[in-house]
Amino acid sequence: MLAKMRQKAKDLLSSGVVSTVIGYGEGSGNRVRALFIRKPDDADKLILDERCVQNLAVYLTKREVRALGRPAVVARVPVMRTIQQLMFEKQVAEGEVAVIGISPDSQVLDFPDLKSMAEYVSAIPFELSADEKAAVEKLEKMTAGERWNFWLDVLSGCSKCYACRQSCPLCYCERCTVECNQPQWVSVPSHGLGNLEWHIMRAMHLAGRCVNCGDCFRACPLEIPLNLLTQKIITDIADKFGGADEYALNAFKPDDKEDFIR
């Protein structure tokens, strides 16, 4: 379906519907990189294979990218979910972005508008894969002490390079709270405390928003499984609130479970 995708990109550019197509291209050393296609002829540089998993929606909120004019994005399901979430959060409006959708079985999807894309992607159940579930459960089964040591161990190498944040399409805030020093919400040094506070805050800020694209984990130079945290929250929200809310943390049910409150 590669050809169809390239043709679609070409059409979008040549018709002037978009000025940029954000897709995947060959990088150095068998790596895939994000490709910004500006001319129809360059569309043939686009590739699509199992290595193409980066969440390209991350570029949609960047000032520099916006300056290029209206973009189209090559979007697998997690990317489409991201765009849906960005729409909900008023960061992307209908008409601002075109989507070259890629279905789970790698078919190219045509969407007349973002609304139809949102409908399409909403129909696909949002849940963790069996492997992801197993990983969360494995940790849940440990004792609290074991979990503590586990996180102390995996976070010990974190140098707070913030690659996780940069790669995350939903971490679009222009001034991240971690940079706030009045008050200093997150301890600056990358010692145990600073790292823990950062990762707790990151996870909580993504609670109810994260689309589980996995880019944070892929971006981490130390391969810290920090997406376990967001995955845990995804299962919690589904289990405890039924997952029906658009954003679980600004909604409530009067009978939300409160067995832990005395």
């Binding site: 940790l139 849940e140 440990m142 609290a144 002490g145 074991e146 979990r147 503590w148 040591n149 586990f150 996180w151 102390l152 919400w185 997150v186 301890s187 040094p189 010692h191 145990g192 405390l193 600073g194 823990l196 506070e197 990762h199 707790i200 805050m201 996870a203 909580m204 609670a207 109810g208 376990l228 945290l229 845990k232 929250i233 919690d236 929200i237 405890k240 609130f241 679980a248 943390l249 600004n250 909604a251 409530f252 049910k253 009067p254 939300d256 479970k257 409160e258 832990f260 409150i261 005395r262």
Partner: protein
């Protein structure tokens, strides 16, 4: 060194629990002096990071308390807070943070006795757990604070 006395920080809403704690006072019901209350307008105002900062400041236990469901002065602040706590508490537990040190309660303005009971039971529980060294040792700076407190 005498018996370990835990440091407990309580985040409470102004309308129910703070007033309830006032009633504890006017009723002259005694409770452990280990607790320090931080007054906020509503449980909805309680940022989850405040809880983390309490621990980093050397707290051994934290109480979060506000109005009973349906009694919120602002109608729904406590409902929002409760959702946040559900997610947050589970996340902390998942990270191995000792959630036995975080206590959530609804204490109304009429429940002066309950407030004393909550404080006493939290102080006893946390005293039994011992100092939260695991957290305090995360950063060298926390130890400095403790020295300052002792002096």
């Amino acid at each position: 060194m005498s018996e370990f006395e835990p440091k407990i920080i309580a985040f409470v809403c102004n309308w129910c629990t703070y007033a309830g704690a006032d009633l504890t006072g006017t009723s002259r019901i005694k409770y452990a002096s280990n607790v320090r209350i931080v007054r906020l307008p509503c449980t909805g105002r309680i940022d989850f990071m405040l809880l983390m900062k309490a621990f980093s400041r050397g707290a051994d236990g934290v109480i979060v308390s506000g109005c009973h469901p349906n009694d919120c002065h602002y109608t729904s602040g406590n409902f929002h807070a409760r959702r946040r706590w559900i997610v947050f508490k589970s996340l902390l537990d998942f990270m191995g943070i000792d959630v036995r040190r975080i206590h959530f309660a609804w204490v109304s303005a009429a429940e002066g006795a309950k407030w004393a009971e909550v404080v006493n039971s939290v102080v006893n529980d946390v005293r039994a757990l011992g100092p939260y060294d695991g957290y305090k040792n995360l950063a060298p700076i926390a130890a400095d604070w403790r020295i300052q407190d002792a002096g």
